[in-house]
């Protein structure tokens, strides 16, 4: 470009004031495009994913146990077979770890009914089953609370009328949802005692309105995923056959 040409251009541009004449949006079109199977699979991407997928499948599908039936969290009123299985698994798998670290035993377990994300289906049970039941990365925490707070915990269960899974707690309500019996490990609740209650980090942080864990004496984070308590339980069992029992019931 010759110099004169360049000058001319500058003059030309300032004359027209081109850039001040800002670009304007004249039309907008919006749409949501579905990713359907009519779209081609990108071969390179597919090949890149494959080894990751194969590795996971192999690990997930190795059979650990057998489930004698199909257990859903909607089967049962105030306690369910699948919820009982999970709460009991948290107790049996997490308690030895807690005891070895603190010298105490877990007194009871509670977590939220909503955390159970699928049914435990009849047939082979694998790691995949545990991922379906508990896809979240929730971990076990044990909280030391006073007997008076156990009363609030029980009151929460009483008023929520939901089959929130529990272990080592026995709670019987009458027709008016009043407490007829409340025991931990077969003993009456002592208001002055400290109880070690295991739950998920989600519940502890106030999830599903379970606010009875604060304030507390201490919190022990076990860094043990709830899903892994299930996997460890599956490994120990041949046949899984949980039942709806009388741990949390209403006498009608």
């Amino acid at each position: 470009m010759r110099f004169t040409h360049f000058l001319f251009l500058l003059y030309f541009l300032s004359f027209l004031n081109c850039k001040d004449e800002k670009l304007k949006i004249i039309k907008i079109e919006g749409q949501q495009i579905i990713i359907s199977d009519s779209l081609i699979l990108d071969g390179e991407i597919e090949n890149f994913i494959k080894p990751f997928r194969d590795n996971i499948q192999k690990d997930l599908d190795s059979i650990l146990a057998y489930s004698a039936g199909t257990y859903s969290k909607t089967d049962g009123e105030l306690n369910t077979a699948v919820g009982n299985f999970m709460a009991d698994a948290i107790y049996s798998e997490a308690n030895p770890i807690f005891k070895s670290r603190t010298g105490h035993d877990i007194d009871m377990v509670i977590f939220n009914h909503g955390a159970i994300r699928s049914a435990l289906n009849k047939g082979n049970v694998s790691k995949r089953t545990a991922f379906e039941l508990m896809p979240f990365e929730n971990t076990v925490v044990v909280i030391a609370i006073k007997g008076t707070q156990i009363d609030s915990l029980i009151d929460f269960l009483r008023t929520s009328k939901t089959a929130h899974p529990v272990s080592k707690l026995k709670l019987v309500l009458n027709q008016e949802f009043k407490i007829m019996e409340a025991k931990i490990k077969g003993k009456n609740i002592d208001k002055n005692r400290i109880y070690y209650v295991a739950t998920s980090n989600y519940v502890y942080s106030g999830g599903d309105n379970m606010s009875f864990f604060k304030p507390n004496d201490s919190v022990y984070r076990l860094d043990y995923k709830i899903r892994n308590t299930l996997i460890d339980k599956f490994i120990k069992l041949d046949t899984i056959e949980p039942v709806i029992d009388d741990r949390f019931i209403q006498i009608k």
Binding site: I25, I26, I33, I40, R53
Partner: protein, 302 residues
């Protein structure tokens, strides 16, 4: 004048000189309409494979999304690809590989930027940081202050992209983490007020960066009924100069983008595509010079 702007204008001028015409008419008529395509996903939650069963059977999947994006880019190279957060958590891919594959695939799909969702802290802020080397795209967050954390300097409040001479400013917003994510996971990440930050960001992008298009990439959530909690809809109403809010978090499947009037009584588009990579959002912006603007303003076809 910035060099790039000069080149843009000089080439337009050169064309004119060749034609030997100096009339205003011929200048504007030479300024062809430019189309900018914004593609977006949100809350993909580690859904890498196509759904095999359930109500979403045969939908989703990164390999199919890749071919779709490819064909859109071939049709219009002036395309940006954005994600509004919650990349992590939802399938065993995350549990086994911690987000490595998600980031690697997004890099292969040439994502330009992403903001951070609450679930992206699911392996803690350290878990997010550990996967950053696999991400060849920019993380954008204007209202998370990471300065006391390991993520310090790893994100930008906004990024300006240039496509065919058009400046596109994108800023990111995240949701309040307290109550949603355990404090030991997000550590000393500070949450700043999204409304105040948006006002700052839109001013910077409009007046300092002189952007032609301003996009907010948000993980605040589409709308909260009976609540003062800030959402994409309330943010759109309370701010100005934002053209498009791309949302996430609430997994809202909108049949079409929502049009909202902002504080200047101008239109803002709010869009979200549900979750799990079942849909790809596509918004096309057509630019022209002021002179070519039709009398009835911007037409929005959704």
């Amino acid at each position: 004048m910035k060099r790039r702007d000069f080149i843009q204008q000089a080439s337009a001028g050169t064309a004119l000189v060749t034609l030997g015409s100096l009339g205003l008419q011929s200048f504007t008529s030479l300024n062809n309409t430019t189309k900018i395509t914004i593609l977006h996903t949100n809350d993909v939650h580690s859904h890498i494979d196509t759904f095999e069963e359930g109500r979403n059977a045969n939908k989703g999947g990164v390999a199919r999304r890749a071919s779709l994006i490819d064909s859109i880019r071939k049709e219009n190279p002036n395309t940006l690809l954005l994600d509004a957060g919650d990349i992590f958590q939802g399938t065993p891919y995350f549990n086994y590989y911690g987000g490595e594959l998600e980031f690697k695939l997004m890099s292969k799909l040439k994502y330009d930027a992403a903001t951070i969702g609450n679930h992206d802290f699911d392996n803690g802020i350290d878990g997010l940081f550990a996967q950053l080397p696999h991400a060849k795209f920019q993380f954008i967050s204007a209202n998370y202050d990471f300065s006391n954390t390991i993520m310090d300097t790893q994100t930008k409040p906004y990024q300006v992209f240039q496509k065919n001479g058009i400046k596109i400013g994108v800023f990111g917003l995240g949701i309040e983490l307290n109550g949603l994510v355990a404090p030991n996971m997000f550590k000393e990440t500070k949450y700043l007020n999204p409304l105040e930050i948006s006002q700052d960001m839109s001013r910077i992008l409009k007046t300092e960066e002189k952007c032609d298009l301003i996009i907010c990439l948000s993980h605040l959530g589409y709308n909260y009924r009976n609540s003062n909690k800030i959402s994409d809809l309330s943010l759109a109403k309370a701010t100005k100069d934002i053209d498009l809010i791309i949302g996430g978090h609430t997994h809202t499947f909108l049949p079409k983008p929502t049009i909202v009037k902002n504080s200047d009584n101008k239109n803002v588009l709010v869009n979200q595509v549900g979750c799990y990579g079942i849909y790809l959002g596509k918004i096309d912006f057509y630019f022209d010079s002021d002179k070519n603007k039709s009398a009835n303003g911007t037409s929005i076809i959704v």
